[in-house]
């Protein structure tokens, strides 16, 4: 199959587009995530820059056809640099009325709407709470509607294969994928390869899915329904070898890579929780990399086992989300007290309590900073993009080991499942992660601190002559023996705080995107990077004096941040919570920072932030 269809021969026109935002939506059992991921893969291989946003219900199979069961996968692909999965949709593929109802609101006017007509039955319309059929009542007049009988065409494609109705129905996502692949000049070859691999044990299913994929592609090419196809040229991006990566995969790879650089095995203690489980899955398959994974009986045991392994000399990690963070708090504090290295990956989701397990939020910043008894200093690092998850995970391990401390790594559901192209680094490009287990008994004290980092020595059991005891009771400054002396406690409290605060010395100077001074500085952290960067660029392009600082280190904060803030008239802090970083900035720097807050389980739209910046400029 060639990359370009013979559209010219068919008398069809080709339109060039800079970027396209497409969303596949259907029942949670309709395979929309697969269609979206394969379309992403095809687009990446076509050389586009891209960003994705999967959106699925917490229920694995909500009742078919209902609004609650709608699953979607959004992709923004472009010939330019892409920051976000896109605000408004250029294309919506809706496999049933419920998918249409939930997603139509995001389709821009005159956008392309592809629907599976057969799915618009009376029953399905009723389940989607439609009183009349939108395909017939004129309510879709503002859009370019392409009603395609996807179900029927899929069935016809497979009619000689003698497959069950259920299997046939499960192939129709590939019809939609084939059709959209044609529409945007994607080669379907990578998907055909994927199908062969995925269904290698069931050649019949491989054949069926491949056939339907090709049928969808050919349908676009031959039917007169589609007069135009669209071309999105490759983006100009840095030279190198690329792959597509989700935030969760990137974290797993970053952890493995850091452990390799450190020359010690990685140990993950974890309990399954959405949206963090994929990190456990990824790492569980890497046994030949010397990666230990321990699926514990609960969240507490997950971090407990990791801390035990850290005592034994592992690069120790636990992965979780908000509810699990609550349960791990006591053990994080034990790690603070015994000063052992461990990385806690918190893949944030909507809360409080069980909240919105599959939706994104930045609600755990204050918990990461303060959610433990007493003064409990813990470095906190936040990843800003799916690719950055790799580097943030790597940095978390490096800091944990260098400073003998727990480190909290914040990601979220949006980064975890979202993906973007990643220029694969060579290990030589990465920093070193030195590990020095102390073995020399001369002058040894368990809490004898390094003069620069204030970290205590890492002594692992099995080292002769250095037998010692650690624990959660307050320790004497040097010997680590239990000690209740009032001044000793204050000395220990202060040295633990100083140790973590001292990490600021190696945090690079704050990068200001835009001019170093101006009217508005947008200060953000974590997964809002894409939307904030795009919004700031957009407003700056209109000649406004607005800049952007994106914080990776939330504790300690960069030492020059106070000076940077002073150079702007206004500070705007967009967050997917009710105002957490903004509190920190106000408290730390006495600036009148103002929040922009959204808690809908969804990321910011670029327009939401841009409008807010404009309002701030006017005020």
């Amino acid at each position: 199959m060639s990359a370009l269809p013979e559209t010219a021969a068919a008398g069809k026109s080709v339109e060039e587009r800079t970027s396209v935002v497409i969303r596949f939506a259907g029942d949670s059992g309709d395979g929309m995530q697969v269609a979206g991921m394969q379309f992403t893969n095809e687009s990446a291989l076509a050389g586009n820059d891209l960003s994705t946003l999967p959106d699925f219900p917490a229920e694995i199979r909500a009742p078919a056809g209902t609004l609650a069961g709608v699953s979607g996968f959004q992709l923004n692909f472009s010939s330019r640099e892409v920051f976000t999965p896109g605000d408004d949709l250029d294309v919506l593929v809706a496999m049933n009325p419920a998918a249409l109802k939930v997603n139509l609101v995001d389709l821009r006017s005159n956008g392309i709407l592809i629907v599976d007509t057969e799915a618009f039955s009376d029953t399905n319309l009723k389940k989607a709470e439609y009183t009349s059929n939108p395909l017939k009542d004129g309510s879709l007049d503002a859009f370019q509607v392409f009603p395609v009988d996807i179900s029927k065409l899929t069935a016809l494609t497979l009619k000689d294969m003698n497959l069950s109705a259920r299997i046939v129905s499960r192939c129709k996502n590939f019809f939609a994928l084939g059709l959209t692949s044609w529409m945007f000049h994607r080669s379907i070859e990578p998907t055909e390869n994927w199908i062969r691999q995925r269904f290698r044990k069931t050649p019949e299913l491989a054949e069926a899915n491949s056939r339907v994929l090709r049928a969808g592609y050919n349908f676009g090419d031959t039917t007169e329904m589609f007069a135009t196809s669209y071309e999105v040229k490759p983006a100009r991006i840095q030279c190198g070898k690329y792959r597509n990566v989700t935030g969760n995969t990137a974290i797993a790879l970053g952890l493995v890579t850091a452990a390799r650089q450190a020359g010690i095995p990685l140990f993950l203690g974890s309990y399954p929780i959405t949206p963090a489980s994929d990190i456990l899955h990824e790492l569980a398959g890497l046994k030949n990399f010397g990666v230990y994974t321990f699926q514990a009986e609960d969240e507490i045991a997950g971090i407990g086992a990791a801390l035990g392994a850290a005592f034994g000399g592992a690069a120790a990690v636990t992965t979780t989300s908000g509810p699990g963070m609550c349960l791990k708090a006591e053990t994080i504090n034990l790690a603070v007290s015994v000063e052992l290295p461990i990385v806690i990956c918190d893949i944030q989701r909507g809360g409080p309590s069980t909240g919105l397990p599959t939706k994104t939020e930045q609600g755990d910043l204050l918990m990461a900073l303060f959610g433990r008894n007493s003064d409990s200093p813990v470095p906190v690092i936040a990843a800003s993009t799916p690719v950055d998850c790799f580097y943030a995970a790597f940095e978390s391990i490096r800091i944990a080991i260098k400073y003998m401390t727990p480190v909290i790594l914040l990601s979220d559901g949006y980064l975890a499942n979202g993906s973007e192209p990643w220029r694969i680094p060579r290990t030589a490009e990465l920093p070193e992660v030195p590990v020095r287990f102390r073995t020399d008994p001369t002058g040894f004290f368990p809490y004898l601190r390094d003069e620069t980092t204030l970290s205590r020595p890492w002594v692992i059991p099995g080292t002769p002559g250095l037998e010692h005891r650690i624990g959660g009771l307050e320790k004497e400054y040097l010997s680590g023996n239990v000690c209740y002396a009032p001044t000793n406690h204050e000395q220990m409290m202060r040295v633990r705080a100083r140790k973590v605060a001292g990490i600021a010395a190696e945090i690079p100077p704050t990068e200001v995107r835009g001019a170093p001074a101006g009217d508005v500085l947008v200060v953000a952290w974590g997964s809002t990077f894409g939307a904030v960067a795009a919004a700031v660029d957009e407003v700056r392009a209109r000649g406004k004096a607005v800049s952007h600082v994106h914080l990776r280190y939330l504790n300690p904060l960069p030492s020059d941040l106070g000076d940077v803030l002073k150079r702007f008239r206004k500070i705007l802090v967009p967050e997917l919570n009710l105002g957490q970083l903004v509190k920190i900035l106000r408290a730390e720097y006495l600036v009148d920072a103002v929040g922009l807050n959204k808690v809908q389980g969804l990321p910011f739209k670029v327009s939401e932030i841009a409008q807010c910046i404009l309002r701030a400029l006017e005020a």
Partner: protein, 339 residues
């Protein structure tokens, strides 16, 4: 604590005594347990630096501070989880957990059953005094029903756990019981726990002379103990009593105490079998007033230890797939090159 002695082949009890002052209440049963552990340790032939004691919270959990080995005094109930991570990662270490009835069976109940289920080669010493001592005298999950304590002025309405039964229920591969003052018996069990490959659990009945004094008096008083203890020995009939004239016999599906008289002889008694799970469970449950309290090994059965299976899996992955190549890993899936 800075002992200059490196691991030498011949260690003594003293080598295992740390420089920390022992701070249990005078007369506490914990002293006796500490003494037996320190006595047995040098006999095991394990270098001191390869031994790790891990504990949770409670009186018993101060134990690691008094052992001159590696030690980790952790948080309430979590010692089995921390020990599991350490042992899974470092099978070369001899890992011991010191815990209590509240620590292991109340706040840490979940970790307790799961370490037994996984069968890591860890030795768990549970000091059961049937009371919360460190928090000054509330009832524990092993306190007898109706017990009057600070938190149960009208008597507790809770039904208690039987630690050995819980351990057997969790499929513990080595489940035993001893008593703080039975020095020889306890030493033997500590030795056997060490030798067992898998999680070895010993419930040690321990007197808290401040908050629950005499809880096990009938088992430890010179005059009464023979009639109240039943010492389990593999392959031997279940006989007890001052004049060894009483025993346990099967009646239907349960045990019965019989006098060895009127035609009932040793050959009518149940012969203890450490491989018999049903018998082990029955024996773990019996006790006063009708029955003696069995001490010894209820069950000892070999099954693969978790860390051994994990190591084998990792080894076989390396054999099958080769030593992981990082550059290959990072480049997995579809890649493309931008020039």
């Amino acid at each position: 604590m800075l002992m200059s002695t490196m691991s030498s082949p011949k260690l003594t009890r003293k080598d295992f005594v740390s420089d920390q002052e022992v701070r249990w209440c005078p007369g506490c049963g914990d002293y006796a347990i500490l003494a037996q552990v320190q006595k047995v340790m040098p006999e095991l032939g394990v270098a001191r630096e390869n031994i790790v004691f891990i504990s949770g919270i409670g009186c018993s959990s101060r134990f690691p501070y008094y052992m001159n080995t590696y030690g980790f005094h952790s948080i309430h109930g979590r010692a089995p989880a921390i020990a599991s991570g350490l042992k899974a990662f470092r099978p070369d270490l001899s890992v011991w957990v010191a815990t209590g009835d509240g620590d292991a069976l109340s706040i840490g109940g979940n970790h307790f059953i799961h370490v037994l289920r996984r069968n890591l080669d860890i030795n768990i010493l549970l000091f059961n005094n049937r009371i919360y001592g460190l928090t000054k005298g509330q009832y524990s999950p092993t306190s007898e029903q109706g017990k009057i304590t600070k938190s149960t002025p009208f008597g507790s309405v809770d039904h208690p756990f039987n630690p050995a039964s819980v351990a057997l229920g969790a499929d513990g591969s080595f489940v035993a019981r001893s008593i703080d003052v039975e020095a020889k018996h306890l030493q033997d069990l500590i030795r056997r726990a060490y030798e067992h490959r898998g999680t070895a659990f010993i419930e040690i009945l321990q007197n808290c002379n401040i908050f629950n004094d005499g809880a096990f008096a009938s088992l430890t008083d010179k005059d009464t103990k023979a009639d109240h203890q039943l010492v389990l020995e593999h392959g031997k009939p279940l006989i007890f009593g001052k004049s060894r004239n009483k025993g346990l016999r099967m009646r239907g599906h349960s045990l019965d105490v019989v006098q060895l008289e009127n035609g009932i002889s040793e050959s009518d008694l149940v012969v203890h079998d450490e491989n018999d799970s049903a018998l082990a469970f029955m024996l773990s449950l019996v006790g006063p007033p009708e029955f003696p309290v069995p001490i010894g090994v209820f069950r000892a059965r070999q099954r693969p230890a978790y860390e051994t299976a994990l190591a084998a899996q990792m080894q076989s992955a390396i054999q099958r797939q080769g030593n992981g190549d990082l550059e290959e890993l990072l480049s997995r899936g579809d890649t493309w090159t931008v020039k």
